[in-house]
């Protein structure tokens, strides 16, 4: 049995920041990640971040991962276990984890779940053919492993991920024949959209995939236009010769572990799916379990990092650690979150969060 005060599951932007914040209060911290690296999905993000200096605006995701991991490794009260998959959280606060084909037991006073989200599928005939990838997967293949996903790509989704990955494909020497977006407008930031348009990639708004085809792998796709009620318009089909379809149609929180742990869950479409009901310190209905990052609601890496701070400080304070300084850092972090979620860009997330709050009041 490994004993710790605060166990953090997931070493991405949220988990790293949670570990750092908790470590600063002097808590004994154990950070677990199922991959062989810290940084989570930051390690494939070659673009520069927005936000403010506190969330490393102007830095590339890959560099932020290195910086946070290096900072964390300075703390003697932090233990890091990589290639360790948490399998379950039990009533007595024991975590079961697998490392090197062995099951390990971990006893933690507080647990912060920061396991992120998974990519969504889109329903269309032959969506299971080899050559249909999650956009994040294509990004990993190119930016981490140096392999092109294919030669000619159709990107599905003109949100930030679709736009950014399109640009990164061009950087990797892959041709993108177009981006289809079911909504009548581009969802991502215009600065990203302008970049891909300047590079000659057409963005087809109010369009979707009718079907993919190919013998054993993707050889083409038929796209068609949608009317104002999102119904496809027959006769508008276009046949595109491509070998890759990249799906950038959103993410869903990886909520399995929280369901298993018995946290009260609520379905909030604006947050990407089922999320745990939580208080303002990101503590779930299980007083021992906190959440941070995409698992708490799909958002940006910048807000995931700040949520990590809130959860890390919240968990430490609940153990009587941190004192005045932690309270001050917490107030600052909550201010940063409010700023990140202000304005029209944060409208969806604010609506989602208010639904979670309503869920709390309704059950109280």
């Amino acid at each position: 049995m490994i004993n710790t005060q605060i166990a953090i599951i997931g070493g991405g932007p949220a988990g790293l920041r949670a570990a750092l914040a908790a470590a600063q209060t002097g808590a004994k911290v154990l950070l677990l990640d199922n991959s062989d690296h810290l940084g989570g999905q930051l390690i494939k993000q070659t673009h520069m971040f927005f936000g403010s200096q506190q969330q490393f605006a102007g830095s590339r995701g890959i560099d932020i991962a290195t910086r946070l991991a290096t900072e964390l490794r300075q703390f003697e009260n932090v233990q890091i276990m990589l290639e360790t998959t948490v399998l379950g959280i039990y009533e007595d606060g024991v975590l079961l984890a697998e490392q090197d084909d062995k099951v390990r037991k971990i006893k933690a006073e507080r647990i912060i779940v920061a396991i992120g989200a998974s990519e969504r599928m889109l329903a269309f005939p032959n969506n299971d053919l080899p050559g249909v990838y999650g956009a994040g997967a294509a990004q990993t293949l190119m930016n981490v492993h140096g392999v092109r996903p294919g030669h000619r790509v159709l990107m599905v989704g003109a949100g930030n991920i679709g736009l950014i990955v399109t640009y990164q494909m061009l950087q990797a020497g892959v041709q993108v024949v177009g981006i289809v977006e079911a909504a009548p407008t581009i969802g991502g930031y215009l600065v990203h959209a302008a970049k891909v348009r300047r590079a000659g990639v057409p963005i087809y708004t109010s369009h979707t995939v009718k079907e993919a085809y190919g013998d054993g792998a993707v050889e083409g796709a038929i796209i068609w236009q949608l009317d104002e009620k999102w119904a496809p318009i027959p006769g508008t089909e276009q046949d595109l010769a491509i070998d890759v379809i990249c799906l950038a149609v959103g993410l869903s929180p990886l909520s399995d572990l929280l369901w298993q742990a018995g946290c009260q869950m609520t379905y909030v479409p604006q947050l990407g799916g089922s999320v745990a009901v939580r208080n303002s310190l990101l503590c779930t209905t299980n007083q021992q379990i906190y959440i941070a990052g995409d698992v708490a609601g799909v958002e940006e890496a910048s807000s995931a990092m700040v949520e990590g701070q809130v959860a890390g400080l919240g968990a430490a304070l609940s153990l009587g650690l941190g004192g005045e300084q932690a309270h001050a850092m917490l107030a600052d972090a909550r201010g940063q979150l409010a700023a990140l979620r202000s304005g029209p860009v944060g409208e969806k997330i604010r609506a989602g969060l208010s639904l979670v709050e309503k869920g709390v009041t309704a059950d109280a």
Binding site: N34, S35, D36, Q41, T46, R60, S118, E119, D128, L129, P130, G131, V132, Y133, G134, G136, A137, A138, T140, L141, M142, N143, H145, G146, V147, R148, P149, G150, Q171, A172, G173, G216, A217, L254
Partner: protein
Amino acid sequence: MRITEHPILRYQKGPKVKFIYDGQEVEGYEGEPIAAALHAAGIKTLSHSHIENRPRGFFCAIGTCSSCLMTVDGVPNVRICVEKLKAGMCVETQQGKGVLR
């Protein structure tokens, strides 16, 4: 399929090694995921659906989706998108749910 020049990234690869994929010799870099090496070699079909036997390829790249399960050195259901390549590995297309030997 390998990216040799990139405006931002420099790829650090392990030594070039040989491994066996369904009886044929394939090259890859030690330490990269098996799936990256297969993809670079143009191999797209990794598994098959159990009932309809439809081909399945690389999908999530981070060990979440089960689309890339193969038998590696006799062990079935290995997620080859996160399993690191070693010299001489034997990677096989899996029949059905795999058999523990």
